[in-house]
């Protein structure tokens, strides 16, 4: 075991494992690139409609159904399933099947969390705002969205961590990213590369979580912080 960990350390110490198209730095860039792209596009697609529908109180049952079904669909299956779909669409292997699978997996939880965040703003508060003479738009932009912002930010964080995790599986459909070390290591039964890849992937997921949690604490006012806790249970 000690000898094995020594091999892993010397793998990390070898500069040739860091540079070049198959090196750690380039794989990390690919991983971060697709994670940021998929999270950003999912947020753009999911959040605005969720906020608006929740404001109008439309589609609550639908949201619950999406949460339950979404949990049941294995991400591994989705990544693999998008390979023939992407090829049929003429988008080829690699980036597109991975990217589309990530969107498919990230949009529903982001939608439902954002929806829940707005829908759960206390009715009294909304009533009071209307009583103060706020227009419908003001209720949305000055009360509901600010009150829901901790939940929405937490939803983005949870989705980003999930996307970073699932992007690992992109290595199975021809994408690069840090998953390559694990998948290629398995293929040639090279446990040192597999283990090193696992360290990198786990590290990236944890760093993503820590950084986004810090951003959240920095943005969200202290008084609203307890609201973000709600999303964990919804998304878990």
């Amino acid at each position: 075991m000690i000898g094995f960990l020594g091999d892993v350390l010397s793998w990390f110490g070898d500069p040739s494992n860091w540079i070049g198209p198959a090196g750690i730095l380039n794989r990390l860039r690919e991983h971060v690139q697709i994670t940021v792209a998929a999270t950003a596009v999912s947020a753009a697609l999911a959040i605005a409609p969720a906020v608006w529908l929740a404001h109008r109180r439309i589609g609550g049952t639908f949201v619950v159904a999406v949460v339950n079904i979404g949990r049941a669909i294995p991400s591994f299956a989705i990544v693999v399933l998008f390979l023939p779909i992407s090829i049929r669409l003429g988008l080829g292997i690699g980036f597109w099947p991975t990217f589309l699978a990530l969107l498919f997996l990230a949009v529903p939880p982001m939608f439902t969390n954002a929806y829940t965040g707005v829908a759960e703003v206390e009715a009294d508060l909304v009533e009071a705002s209307r009583g103060m003479g706020m227009t419908d738009r003001e209720v949305l932009t000055k009360v509901e969205i600010p009150m829901a912002s901790p939940v929405i930010l937490a939803a983005v964080r949870v989705a980003a961590v999930q996307v970073a995790a699932t992007a690992t599986l992109g290595a199975l459909v021809g994408w690069g990213g840090l998953g390559r070390f694990i998948v290629d290591g398995f293929a040639v039964q090279d446990n040192v590369t597999v283990f090193a890849g696992a360290v990198l992937v786990a590290g990236l997921a944890i760093v993503t979580e820590v950084i986004l949690a810090a951003v959240e604490r920095w943005i969200v006012p202290t008084t609203l912080r307890s609201r973000a806790a709600e999303v964990e249970t919804v998304a878990a």
Binding site: R71, L81, R88, F195, A236
Partner: protein
């Protein structure tokens, strides 16, 4: 691409008809992998929840540690274990159990915490000991929330079992992985779709069964549990 156009189809019913035995065997394997993981996860979670409830200061480190396990991507977690436990069922189970812990512990502790103080007081007044109070009063009253946790854990585990195909296990994930190597042919896509659809159906069926179990176990509570 050319093969795909030449063969035309996307799904081959004849493959399904010819492999029903195979599909059944993998479904059973999938359920066994899930059952072991959830059962072991529940046993460990119950112990850790009791510790967390009895010694409050242990709760943050317990949730921190299980939270880290939960954050590690599944493929990476399995990859960590392969050099130690090999491409074995043990590797799959250690990984699968790890993912159930956070959900189960959080729901058990939250469920017991939500038992009304007045109920606990009355039970004490009736002479319940700590142990009796926990098993006869707090745990049964927390059951709806605990079962909500078990539902999430079971459904999540059924999905994750498919990933264990990459370490030589996999249940229905076996079809997904084999389909991946034949992705350009209808036989390949058929296997991917079969693996996915049966796995989702399994998750829905198990979820409904647990809802039923909860209704039977807690006849006094017909309200919906908060997940």
């Amino acid at each position: 691409m050319i093969l795909l156009q030449a063969s035309g189809g996307f799904f081959s019913w004849s493959w399904v008809a010819g492999h029903l035995d195979d599909i059944w065997a993998r479904t059973v394997e999938h359920l066994i992998l899930t059952g072991i993981a959830v059962a072991v996860g529940m046993a460990i979670s119950l112990v850790l929840s009791v510790v967390a409830l009895r010694y409050r200061w242990t709760y943050p480190p317990i949730t921190w540690f299980t939270g880290v396990l939960y954050t590690i991507p599944s493929l990476a977690l399995f990859a960590f274990l392969v050099p130690i436990t090999g491409l074995s069922i043990l590797t799959a189970e250690i990984g699968l159990v790890s993912y159930t812990l956070l959900i189960l512990i959080r729901n058990t502790v939250a469920g017991v915490d939500a038992v009304p103080a007045a109920t606990v007081e009355s039970a004490r007044g009736m002479g319940y000991t700590d142990r009796g109070l926990f098993f006869a009063v707090e745990l049964p009253l927390a059951l709806p929330v605990i079962i909500a946790g078990i539902r999430i854990a079971a459904v999540t585990t059924i999905g994750l079992v498919t990933v264990t195909a990459l370490i030589g296990q996999g249940g229905l994930g076996f079809f997904i992985l084999r389909g991946l190597s034949l992705f350009y042919s209808p036989i390949g896509t058929t296997q991917i779709v079969v693996g996915t659809v049966v796995s989702v159906a399994l998750a829905v069926a198990v979820d409904l069964m647990l809802v039923g179990a909860q209704r039977i176990a807690t006849p006094w509570s017909r309200r919906r549990a908060v997940a």
